[in-house]
Subunit: 131 residues, 2 copies
Amino acid sequence: MIAKAATENTSGVTDPRLDALVTEIIGRVADKWTMLVLEELEAESPLRFTRLLERVDGVSQKMLTQTLRHMERDGLLTRKVYAVVPPKVEYALTPLGRGLGEAFCGVWRWAERHFEEIGAARRAFDDGRDR
Amino acid sequence: MIAKAATENTSGVTDPRLDALVTEIIGRVADKWTMLVLEELEAESPLRFTRLLERVDGVSQKMLTQTLRHMERDGLLTRKVYAVVPPKVEYALTPLGRGLGEAFCGVWRWAERHFEEIGAARRAFDDGRDR
DNA sequence: TTCTATACTTACCAAAAAGAGAGTGAAGAT
DNA sequence: ATCTTCACTCTCTTTTTGGTAAGTATAGAA
């Protein structure tokens, strides 16, 4: 097994707690809005709340706030509040966040390289279903 | 921007349709059960339905069936039905599925390398919230 | 004849996630 | 005096998700 290999200790047994933790982190981090916010902040950083709202296509205020809070909590980005009126808040990636962006790059590129293949597979599957 | 770079054409503009498609594929593929099934099939392939049910911790029959169907439709795995009684069905990764597993490997390793950092960030964040 | 094994499908229900929309607060412009 | 801006927060409703449990089909064992 490729993915799991790195969690194995010398006896070849994976630690279920580490496994669960990593799975939890991946589950958290591999979500739609997190990925899209990550992408926008990789392109330009820092960005203000409203800028992100405009750029992350389809995100609601609520989901953006929630996503940003989670990412802040996980140390993926920093939130800088300026004590001005109207309020101004800037979000910027941390090195940790940038690292995640790079790791995701592999999946992104896989999807780019294979989306035609996936499309074909889907058409073939749906075709077979009908008949 | 790192991740998005590969979708840019010569004018430096990303195609929104390709973007949306890739985002959709990633959203589909980056789900908890898909990742865990991928992992089990990377470790051993082919596997029967009941084997997977036992190995993928916490998955229900319904979710496993659903996940396997989605993955089959996307061309990530093959489903081989034997005309015997009681039924026998074997699932195996396709090269496409194996490629995805490898791509995810980067994220998996990122999570492994940084889970302590994330834990520390969370504790710091939660600490600040209380006071 | 009844039981078991296998790989599902279907129906129902509860819980969780997400969307919509209104409300907030205070400085500065009109 | 009213309006606008920004970054939310809060409530209400709808949608989606996922779990549970029952049903199905059939060959061979007991």
